[in-house]
Symmetry: none
Subunit: 232 residues, 4 copies
Amino acid sequence: MARPPGHGAGYETKRQEIIDKAAALFAEKGYAATGIAEVGDAAGLARGALYYYIGSKEHLLVEIQDRVMRPMLAGVHRIAALDEDPVLRLRLLSQTLLENILARLDHVRVYEHDYRNLRGDNRTRLLSQRREFEGVVQQLLVAAMEDGSFRRLDPGLATLQFLNMHNHTYQWVKPGGEWDARSLSREYCATLFAGFAGPGRRFDDIEDHVSDFLAKRETAAPVPIPRSSGRA
Amino acid sequence: MARPPGHGAGYETKRQEIIDKAAALFAEKGYAATGIAEVGDAAGLARGALYYYIGSKEHLLVEIQDRVMRPMLAGVHRIAALDEDPVLRLRLLSQTLLENILARLDHVRVYEHDYRNLRGDNRTRLLSQRREFEGVVQQLLVAAMEDGSFRRLDPGLATLQFLNMHNHTYQWVKPGGEWDARSLSREYCATLFAGFAGPGRRFDDIEDHVSDFLAKRETAAPVPIPRSSGRA
Amino acid sequence: MARPPGHGAGYETKRQEIIDKAAALFAEKGYAATGIAEVGDAAGLARGALYYYIGSKEHLLVEIQDRVMRPMLAGVHRIAALDEDPVLRLRLLSQTLLENILARLDHVRVYEHDYRNLRGDNRTRLLSQRREFEGVVQQLLVAAMEDGSFRRLDPGLATLQFLNMHNHTYQWVKPGGEWDARSLSREYCATLFAGFAGPGRRFDDIEDHVSDFLAKRETAAPVPIPRSSGRA
Amino acid sequence: MARPPGHGAGYETKRQEIIDKAAALFAEKGYAATGIAEVGDAAGLARGALYYYIGSKEHLLVEIQDRVMRPMLAGVHRIAALDEDPVLRLRLLSQTLLENILARLDHVRVYEHDYRNLRGDNRTRLLSQRREFEGVVQQLLVAAMEDGSFRRLDPGLATLQFLNMHNHTYQWVKPGGEWDARSLSREYCATLFAGFAGPGRRFDDIEDHVSDFLAKRETAAPVPIPRSSGRA
DNA sequence: AATGAATGAGCCTTCATTCAT
DNA sequence: TATGAATGAAGGCTCATTCAT
């Protein structure tokens, strides 16, 4: 379980490579239906060597979940803390969410399908992270209701509608396909914000605000989405 | 392998019972992670007897998928064929969809998660049914755009937004919980229709139309949602 | 782990047969160095079928320990409770002990060598049984000291001397070889009792008392030592 | 495989240290159940470096057996060759035997339990050493019978009684515990010699003879029992 | 003198499935 | 109809050992 204390230069690189390969396989066939041997084959490693890196099959799953949840939570908290209009923050959060989904599509599929295979602490931690994530979204929605941007909705159900719309995307979107995160976010939010809008409210210039914000950000400090390989 | 040609009175009953139990287990732990022995235990049957009813583990999965897809498609086609406004038909379709999801929550979870374990024909047929289903939704959305109810949207993405919103519901809804199909449908459609609305269009009286329609239907011919046990 | 609730006529027989074979193999090569596959080969069973009977490798070890300890403790308690002179009871206990050792020589070897491979409850229970056993011997030795038969010895060390002498026998005795339980017991006790004797005490007629006692017993009720196969 | 021909200053020291650690681990968990990695951890050495010192796991076992048998045989032969009464020589041999057992308790446990894991020549040599050892004891016992000190006993069984009593000690004695070699030897021999005694023979002054002998020895030349680390 | 990385056989165990009864 | 018994492949994982550096 514990990795050997000293490991050479290439160790972590190789380790991340293995997790990549595993994520792809788990996404394709499901965690339970994928054998460790297949992961070894994909990584070009014999079974024994594999365990030198991974500890256990479940640990592999934990790392994949982490790769999804860690940057997602970080991004979401960063955006929620911005000094901007709640609706703009929701739009930015939507885009970050979709960027993360698109950047690690197979990881997300594993994250959504296979968390049932986690047990004990790992499972508990995952579920609490999900709740934390939902909490942030809900707070923004409530803020938007309170300032009149949105009509009075059941906060829980509004959150779930927002998340339904975004989180199911992984089921059909293709990497490098027709849709990128920004366009998707634009469309989703156009629907949701018009659907949630308070009386007399419209959000026609929201995309301009987004452009402004992103331009500001980019000149200040770029925030890259990490690629699938390499720790978040 | 094939079901024995002559079977007694209780055969089909017992068979359906077994599929029920299997669906519950597969939903909880995943298809691949659930053993045939567990199904046998849950059904109170030894392994040998189980195979007398089920043929194979994969066949069990096929039956569960069928139980989801068959009534879903039937309902959707029935509604699409109605001589009603496209927006009302979408609202009715939404409700049917949610009724089916809520009536067979565990089946739906299996349907969404485990179709990757199907192979060959079974898989092909399933995917084509999904496309068929999406086609119907898309046609209604296009019809609503054409009569000006909805603004001009990318038809594919509009469909996916509609389906995202509905199909992700199984991930959090609880049977016998806070939300029933009709309330959920009302809320989802309030958001989606306002979000999709063409210029100057509102759908404030849509729920009245729904009430009227349902009242008519009920006096004419009840269309029950079949319970989880028993063939569709 | 739990054996199936219903099993046929031959189940228990076959199970005992497997434990026999396992005991022989464990005795020869050691528990840890013996593979489950070897047990399967010896029992003429494929690996899968083996597990239908045994539950786990450790469970096999537990059963072997039980087969040693259960009749041993039963015999020892039965004899300690007799209304006879302490020295005679020690002599009878010695014989029972040796009878048990000789009757299940390979089991005893496993019992002495491999209990370290037990963990948790199984280990705890075993150790407490050992202490219980030693307690009975020590009480008899103390009784013999108190009535003057034996000189005043350190009770703990006297017990250990008695047990050293008997328990190491498994390391060299051969089943069906030169020595049977009664002769061995006679010789061991001749040495020990003369060695332990109080001033002026001799036990020249102890073997006559043994003969009398055994004759009495046999006419009353024979107490057979169970063979290696079959539960105690 | 063979030790490298040229090795530096600390090589042998480190090698002995590794064998020490291995003996402790083998004693605790058994040879077969102990991994080479654990030995490496205990010695603070990576697996590769370990093999630089040990050659193979079985070689480690051979060395441990040697550390037990070599000084044991040497001591026993030295004592048997003394020009003293056979009974005194047996008493001295008993003490040496127990000193060796106590000095290397874990080695002895390995020696008694795990010789079955040796194969080929290593095993043969070990067994012949054991027979050699028993032969010496038996000769002394026979000598004591022939001079009338002991009664006429079956020589083989007398030897085995002597060895049973001593060799089982490792199973319960604790290093630094209540009993040291000299006290144990005194008690064991008190029992055995009185038990073996010929008609009218007593050995009341044997401990005085022991004291005399040891005093003589010590002034002449100390014969230290080597500590667990360091070759015999 | 020591290391990290790799191997591949073997470990115990579980699995879906079959079949005589 | 239903069972208990059996199979053999595959499951995840550990092992002693090697070797380039």
